[in-house]
């Protein structure tokens, strides 16, 4: 039985785009309101999905499977499970907050800006709910277009360099992934006789280990660039720093998660042997990301670029958890994806607020800001502590669970990863101290206004989420658990099946040799 809610969730923002196209570009107030209301309604729809989600089932829920391009076996196949549920919720909640935060920040080409934001929301939700490889690829690439415009038109001074770098980097990975998708498509046909891009069907396929290796790396490259994993992270600082505030929020909050989601949804079910055999490589890259990202963050002079590098560090944690391949590690990893979206999204919003006032992001231009902006200082402190992982905040739950899982699989990795937490405290607290505490050193900081109502409304939901997940994460873990358990079990079963399949392939050639010898006698 096909459900229509996911289609609505994915394409409702496009309805907003169509309405905005008809609105005259001078009526900026109406444009902002329409965009905000559209994204808010979409968030409401996602709540419907959340409350009607069966928490004990590992199967794909609310699915719809209609044939789209029959001659090639492409279907319009959507579905949501415990892993993608929270990523979709993250998207639908961050988008209205990002739109609200741009109220006074974006004054030129307003219509195009909000159209791009809504278009981006469609692409993002589409990526998380697609279960057809072709459809997933379409959304994956499609999502680049509005992001390209968001950075390139409304971004900072080096925006064109940043956006072209972002697009070319991401496309390199995704084009190689396209080749891998095609190879899978024809492999499936050779094995089953049907042409299909259906992920669930292709996941049943036994793939020989040699082919798995290449296919896994093609997919992994695309996702590793997105995460971003060291050494493919160099696009991130440029893109994040040059993007407008809301662009950075969405980029860090949602887009980076697509990489980690891709590892869980595609790499593990399709290529379990290659995935599991390469755990050391990816874990080490994750740890390098954690430590390197943190150390470089310490050195940053621009707040936004500090937060950008901290994303590399935090997502290294997520990857570490995912590659622990046990329930705690993965659940921690998924939760930390959400946490990072909330905390780093909030951090970018905060940076944006201070940038709007002073038009600079250099740490040296601040100092003693908390004297003039006490409410802001409070919000900033909470978010900073969440980013570090203070118990009571969401960051702690995620990082603790990840380290618990990693400790079970490999003690050394866990210890090295834990070092990252210390470094996070270093860069975050030191930055906070230099910006907010101490004497007011620059005269321009004397007249800073504290947060207005709109800015408080943007940050409050995030603060609530920080504490809610930090104190009561059970609803999140309970809904993830069946899907993650099933994922791990299926992967381990398939690992064994593929091994025996591989052995049966090689056994045949040995048998042939034996037969040759026997016939020669």
């Amino acid at each position: 039985m096909d459900s229509w809610i996911l289609t609505i969730l994915t394409f409702f923002p496009m309805l907003g785009v169509l309405i905005l196209l008809l609105v005259d570009r001078e009526r900026q107030g109406s444009i902002r309101s329409i965009a905000f209301v559209t994204s808010l309604l979409n968030a409401a729809f996602s709540l419907y999905v959340y409350f009607n989600f069966a928490a004990d089932s590992a199967a794909m829920q609310f699915s719809v499977n209609k044939s789209w391009i029959d001659s090639l076996g492409i279907s319009y196949h959507l579905g949501i499970d415990g892993i993608s549920l929270f990523l979709v919720l993250l998207t639908t909640f961050l988008t209205p907050l990002a739109i609200l935060s741009s109220w006074s920040a974006v004054t030129k080409k307003v219509k195009g800006y909000y159209i791009s934001m809504l278009f981006l929301e469609t692409g993002m939700i589409g990526v998380f709910v697609s279960l057809d490889l072709f459809l997933f690829y379409v959304f994956w690439e499609l999502m680049l277009v509005p992001m390209y415009f968001l950075i390139g038109i409304w971004g900072g001074p080096r925006r064109i360099y940043a956006t072209i770098k972002f697009v070319l980097f991401t496309m390199t990975g995704s084009l190689l992934m396209l080749v891998a998708i095609l190879v899978l498509y024809f492999m499936n046909h050779a094995f089953t006789g049907t042409y299909t891009f259906n992920l669930l069907e292709i996941a049943e396929l036994p793939i020989p280990l040699g082919a798995q290796f290449w296919l896994f790396f093609a997919f992994a490259l695309a996702f590793a660039i997105k995460v971003p994993m060291f050494p493919f992270h160099t696009w991130l600082p440029d893109a994040h720093v040059e993007a407008p505030t809301a662009g950075s929020v969405i980029l860090a909050g949602v887009l980076l998660k697509m990489g980690t989601y891709g590892f869980l949804r595609f790499c593990l079910p399709l290529f379990p042997n290659a995935f599991m055999d390469n755990v050391p490589l990816f874990s080490i890259l994750a740890i390098i990301g954690i430590i390197y990202g943190a150390i470089v963050s310490i050195r940053q002079v621009d707040i936004k670029s500090l937060v950008a590098f901290s994303s590399v560090s935090h997502l290294g944690f997520v990857m570490l958890g995912l590659f622990a391949l046990n329930l705690q590690g993965m659940e921690g990893g998924i939760l930390q994806m959400i946490n990072h979206g909330i905390s780093t999204g909030a951090l970018f919003l905060i940076v944006g607020m201070i940038y709007e006032r002073r038009h600079t992001r250099l740490i040296s231009d601040f100092g003693g800001v908390s004297k003039k902006m006490p409410v802001f200082a409070a919000f900033f402190m909470i978010v900073a502590l969440s980013s570090i992982g203070l118990p009571g905040t969401n960051g702690f739950v995620g990082e603790f669970t990840i380290l618990l899982g990693t400790f079970k699989s490999n003690v050394v990795y866990a210890v090295l990863g834990a070092v990252g937490i210390i470094l996070a405290a270093v860069y975050m607290l030191w930055m906070y101290q230099r910006v907010m505490f101490g004497k007011i050193t620059k005269p321009e900081n004397e007249n800073l206004k504290d947060l207005n109502l709109r800015e408080k409304l943007v940050l409050i939901p995030l603060i609530i989420a920080i504490f809610w997940i930090g104190i009561y994460p059970k609803p999140f873990f309970s809904r993830m658990e069946p899907s993650v358990k099933a994922l791990i079990e299926n992967a381990q079963t398939k690992y064994g099946e593929n091994q025996s399949f591989q052995e049966s392939l090689t056994l045949d050639s040995q048998q042939i040799e034996q037969m040759d010898e026997e016939s020669e006698d």
Binding site: W68, I69, D70, S71, L72, F134, Y137, V138, E141, L142, L144, V145, Y148, F149, G152, I153, R159, I160, I164, V167, L168, M171, T172, L175, L176, L178, V179, L182, V183, Y185, F186
Partner: protein
Amino acid sequence: MGESLMDWVMPNINLELILPEIILCVFAILILILDPFLSKDKKIISGHLSWIALVLAFLAALRLWDLQETTFSQMFLVDNYASFFKFIFLVGSFLIVCVSLSYLKREEILHGEYFSLILFSTLGMMLLASGFDLVVIFLGLEIMSISLYVLTGFRRSDPKSNEASLKYFLMGAFATGFLLYGIVMIYGAVGSTNLEQIIRSIALGEVGSSLMVWAGAGLLLVGFGFKIASVPFHMWVPDVYQGAPTPITAFISAGPKAAGFAALLRVFLFCFVTIKVDWTTIVWIMAVLTMTAGNIIAIAQSDIKRMLAYSSIAHAGYVLVALVAGGETGVSSALFYLLAYTFMNIGAFTVVILLGRKGEENTGLDDYSGLGTRSPLLAILMTVFMFSLAGFPPTAGFMGKFYVFSAAVKSGFVGLVIIGVLNSLISVYYYLRVVVIMFMHPPKAEAQRIPVAFGAALVLLISIWGVLQMGILPDSLLSLAQASVSSIF
């Protein structure tokens, strides 16, 4: 005494099968005759006659769907493959005529011969698609090309146009020489120029000398390679594309390229299919060189017509990948790709035409600065065309590349596909550069609104519909392309 005139019997030709071609021919001659009698302001009638002719020919071609019949002693074949190509040509020519009406008026070169030559050129293309005999293919090629040589030089007062025309003519004549020599070789080896006869002889091995067959195939590849502008026969493209009047540039980039491929695919995947292993490597190398050279050199261009010229070289490379793939999927993917390419290329060139003024073509890339503010609708349309050329979903360009690459993977050429996607990546850079300039650079001081004539608007509408339809709901056209090749295999 022999037979007298009264004993002459009408040869057995099924005129219905060549009805589209007859329509084009009659109207072309009609325009030529009528034109001297039209006063200067009534010259537009020739233009209207030409698009009427193209519509009528399209309707006539529709009636010929799902046939597999030959006429003119098996020299002219009407099958789905030929019909699909004829649809591409007729649609392409229709779009060009519509956009030319206002262009010619603006440039004050509104002469009836222009439209007549376009009709003749289309006629030549249709012969190339339906030709089932090497001589007919040659005939079609010449009719198409000679009309194009003249059309390239249509801006008589512009030295660039004259230079382009002469270059095109000289190099084209040279290539025709190669083609003819190839035909001669094949004839020498097989004893006939009929494609059916050729494939039979080659398959059964009853050729005079297989060396002659290979030499003939190689020479034919050179001749066709020039027409489709593949490396290393592409040298004429940038100068000819830049010098020709822009509607003709659009015309050359779409129709004749597709026609060249029609004949190339027919000859190589039908006649020479049994010796495919011999020529696959060479075409593989040609495909790689064509894609790569086209994309890399395009990056250095500062004139949009030259950039689009090199981009069309690169796109020919992608279709060559389909040729390497071969088989049913290979051919149907090539057909689909050429249709998609016609829409997006003509669309992009229409925007280029609209930016020009009398005497000043405004084809530098910096003439596009701030088009997003000057004329947002045009800029958005151009953006869609650029994204389609680059291969972003959900456009025709993406679907076409996807289909071609899947055909290549199916035939086992994964390395070629990897090179193809990396080339797509390189092309993203220069296509996006146009979008950057349009939206992210400030407009020039004297920028005014751009007037869009009805004909150009119609072309943009049809092109954008084609690009989006083939990208989002390609099923109908995909099945059409697949139905077109089942007749060959």
